[in-house]
């Protein structure tokens, strides 16, 4: 991981949408089969949720990994050893 997530080209689409990826699962709360996984900003920060679309029960709330690209940007020095000054 280096400097590749510091500068981005602006998107070409006029309007943007968050994609919800369907997940094969049954909601333990309401029994619905309509479950999806997608990035959110929850109360502490960026997260990836797997969530019932019928009742909003969370099947999981995950801290994003590098592959999730959420948020899209990332510090270039995140994995470097820390000095006294940070």
């Amino acid at each position: 991981m280096g400097v590749e997530r510091l500068i981005f080209a602006p998107p070409s689409e006029q309007f943007l949408h968050v994609q919800r990826t369907p997940v094969e699962a049954t909601c333990p709360q309401c029994g619905s089969g309509d479950v999806a996984r997608y990035p959110v900003a929850n109360y502490v920060g960026p997260r990836i949720v797997t969530k019932c679309q019928t009742c909003f029960h969370h099947l999981s709330v995950d801290v994003p990994t590098a592959d999730d690209h959420w948020p899209p940007w990332r510090s270039a020095t995140l994995d470097w050893p820390s000095s006294r000054a940070g």
């Binding site: 500068i7 943007l16 968050v18 109360y43 502490v44 909003f56 959420w70």
Partner: protein, 656 residues
């Protein structure tokens, strides 16, 4: 003493008695209440210290500043108490702390360390809002992080004062600081201070503000340690947990009372200050049970100009929801827990670096207005119309060449705005929009510190959106420079004013002129446009403002209300007219005595109330009841036939 907090218990707090609560939190209810308020008092003390010791008028007078206490929890870092001058900071502080603490090596932190951040891609609102964080280490572990925020007058960049209208990247805006050590163990880090102070136009003000931001954290450190020394860490933590759970329960109870459903809302930004492209801000507010999802899908791509934001809208939206659902409880982590946001990457609400994001005011105001509108759809009996949507914000500065005052100077002017009408009452007049809800400027201070004279700051007649409950009135602000002054004006809702709801009319839009300053009769009459140069607004062919069917920018110097580098010479005044809030409900139903009261108070003209309220006056203090009944019936019929709509608020007696 250790206390196990059983937070997995699904029982709502409101269903528990004092014994159950004591069992859950391991402490008596009276202790928990004492400590949740104890933490609030620490935050209040920090905030008061910040306001009293800051140098810049933005903090000292406008109170664009906030203090917060974050606590370590299983979820990360949660805000257990905050005290705000600018409302939005209370909703955005928690993410910033989490971004910082995920990135910073905790093992390297020492008591008295203070970290500086103003990076919008790490949760800051814009670079002008700077944040200092101070970890509180207890028994070798960081247990709390104290946080102070304020807007500062200048941090370098192409445009003095930071609202860098017209630029396209954050490189051209204020200096951007990823987490940077500013004090190492209470000792100022000289390279960090030098870098900041040598890259600002107002080092004296900025140094004062940085010391105030640091000093209030030192005050908070002492107060929080007093609390921990007296009650013990476990009990203070239990109080923080109880306080956030209690607020969460309050929010969830209010959300659960809403009908489940999807509530789609949208609003617009006139343009981005670079192109004339209108920006659509869209959201679907989904309510399920006691939680909400705000999906900003459908929002326009990030603009070229500075009117998008990087990250904050996902929690700033909560402010609009809370305003309607749970207006009285203090803001903490519990306020945010029931709500998640979907932010499309690359859209105006999640712009990618290196976009410019310095004007967050307009999009933030739209966000709040959209959320109150969605809540009004879910709870039609609790509707709230949108606010003026801009602060008429001005950053001013230059070189003061008056004898005895020589030197660079900078100031901020926030004349204010107005709120929309609500289901309960008319909208508030002369207040800043809800994202800030801070104060407007103190003119005596501005006059003393700056080579300008504020000539007028008063209500603007015929500016409030008509309604059963009308909007608040917008205002007039006129300033006369005594030395050459450069102004940045940041505003929107200049193409059309704040919309009404439930049949209400829209407010007056946002306008500005350069006015010859040598004739008091002209400069003090906001309706006298003779010799005035229009800067922006919607005009007819004669240069008269017309809110409903004029042309934006016709005959004006700018095709935008986002202006930078406007040169003001002594002898010419700058006049802005800012709009009122939208109206709530049908103006044809507003009791005639209330319409008459507004006319008698000089707030509405007889001409406007006839056009918008169908109220005909026979004299200055009498309503012609028969003519009014007839006219109201005619207008209602015409509306049914699609031949009449409530006119936008707009004065009519212009002199051109």
């Amino acid at each position: 003493m250790t206390i196990d907090i059983d937070i997995d218990d699904n029982q709502h707090l409101s269903n528990l008695d004092a014994k159950d609560i004591a069992r859950r939190y391991g402490a008596e209810l009276v202790e928990l209440e004492t400590l949740r308020y104890g933490l609030l008092e620490v935050a209040r003390d920090m905030h008061e210290s910040l306001v009293r010791s800051s140098f810049s008028p933005i903090v000292r007078d406008i109170q664009d500043c906030t203090a917060a206490i974050h606590m370590r929890t299983d979820a990360g870092w949660e805000t257990v108490a905050s005290r705000e001058g600018a409302m939005q900071h209370a909703f955005t502080a928690q993410h910033m702390c989490n971004f910082l603490m995920e990135e910073w090596d905790e093992a390297s932190l020492q008591p008295g360390d203070t970290i500086f951040v103003n990076d919008p891609w790490r949760g800051a609102i814009h670079q002008s809002d700077v944040n200092l964080f101070r970890p509180i280490i207890i028994d070798g572990r960081v247990e709390f992080v104290l946080h102070s925020t304020s807007h500062v007058l200048d941090l370098g960049g192409a445009v003095p004062g930071g609202f860098a209208n017209g630029v396209q990247t954050h490189f051209e805006e204020q200096l951007k600081f990823p987490p940077t050590l500013l004090y190492a163990g209470d000792v100022p880090v000289r390279p960090a201070f030098n870098y900041i102070l040598e890259n600002t136009r107002v080092p004296s003000s900025l140094l004062g503000d940085l010391r105030a931001l640091y000093g209030c954290l030192a005050v908070g450190d002492a107060r929080l340690r007093e609390l921990v020394d007296r009650f013990g860490l476990a009990l203070v933590r239990a109080g923080g947990q109880y306080g956030t759970d209690r607020i969460e329960q309050s929010m969830r109870a209010a959300i659960a009372a809403l009908p489940d459903g999807d509530y789609p809302v949208e609003d617009f930004i006139d343009e981005d200050g670079v192109t004339d492209e209108e920006l659509r801000i869209a959201a679907t507010v989904r309510v399920r049970g006691d939680s909400i999802e705000v999906d900003f899908s459908g929002t326009s791509r990030q603009p070229l100009g500075n009117v998008g934001t990087a990250w904050i809208e996902g929690t700033r939206c909560v402010q609009g929801i809370k305003m309607v659902l749970d207006p009285h409880s203090p803001v903490n982590s519990g306020t945010l827990r029931p709500i998640e946001a979907l932010l499309p990457a690359g859209s105006a609400v999640c712009t990618l670096p290196p976009s410019s994001v310095s004007n967050h005011l307009d999009i933030g105001s739209r966000n709040i207005n959209m959320m109150t509108t969605a809540m009004s759809m879910a709870l039609p009996e609790h509707g709230v119309a949108p606010d003026s949507g801009n602060f008429a914000a001005m950053m001013i500065g230059g070189f003061d060449d008056r004898h005895g005052h020589e030197g660079p100077w900078a100031g901020a002017i926030l004349p204010g705005g107005a709120w929309g009408g609500t289901y309960k009452s008319d909208g508030l007049t002369s207040v800043t929009p809800a994202i800030g809800a801070c104060r407007s400027s103190v003119w005596e201070h501005i006059e003393r510190e700056s080579p300008i004279v504020p000539l007028m700051h008063e209500f603007l007649p015929d500016s409030a959106g008509a309604g059963f409950h009308r909007g608040g009135f917008g205002g007039i602000f006129t300033l006369l420079p005594l030395a050459t002054t450069y102004a940045t004006i940041t505003g929107d809702r200049s193409k059309r004013g704040a919309p009404g709801v439930n049949g209400g009319g829209s407010g007056f839009p946002f306008y500005a002129w350069l006015v010859p300053g040598d004739d008091p009769s002209v400069v003090l009459d906001p309706f006298d446009l003779r010799g005035c140069e229009p800067l922006f607004g919607v005009f007819d062919g004669q240069g008269r403002p017309v809110a409903d069917d004029g042309v934006f920018g016709r005959g004006a110097r700018y095709q935008t209300a986002k202006v930078a580098g406007l040169e003001l010479k002594p002898g010419y005044a700058l006049r802005v007219l800012f709009g009122g809030g939208g109206g709530w409900g049908d103006p044809l139903e507003r009791p005639v005595d209330r319409v008459l009261e507004d006319v008698q108070a000089g707030l509405y003209s007889p001409e406007f109330v006839e056009r918008a309220y169908g109220v005909v006056l026979s004299s200055s203090d009498e309503v012609d009841v028969d003519a009014t009944t007839r006219l109201r019936a005619e207008l209602a019929d015409a509306r049914k036939d699609g031949k009449w709509t409530v006119p936008a608020a707009c004065p009519t007696n212009w002199i051109v």
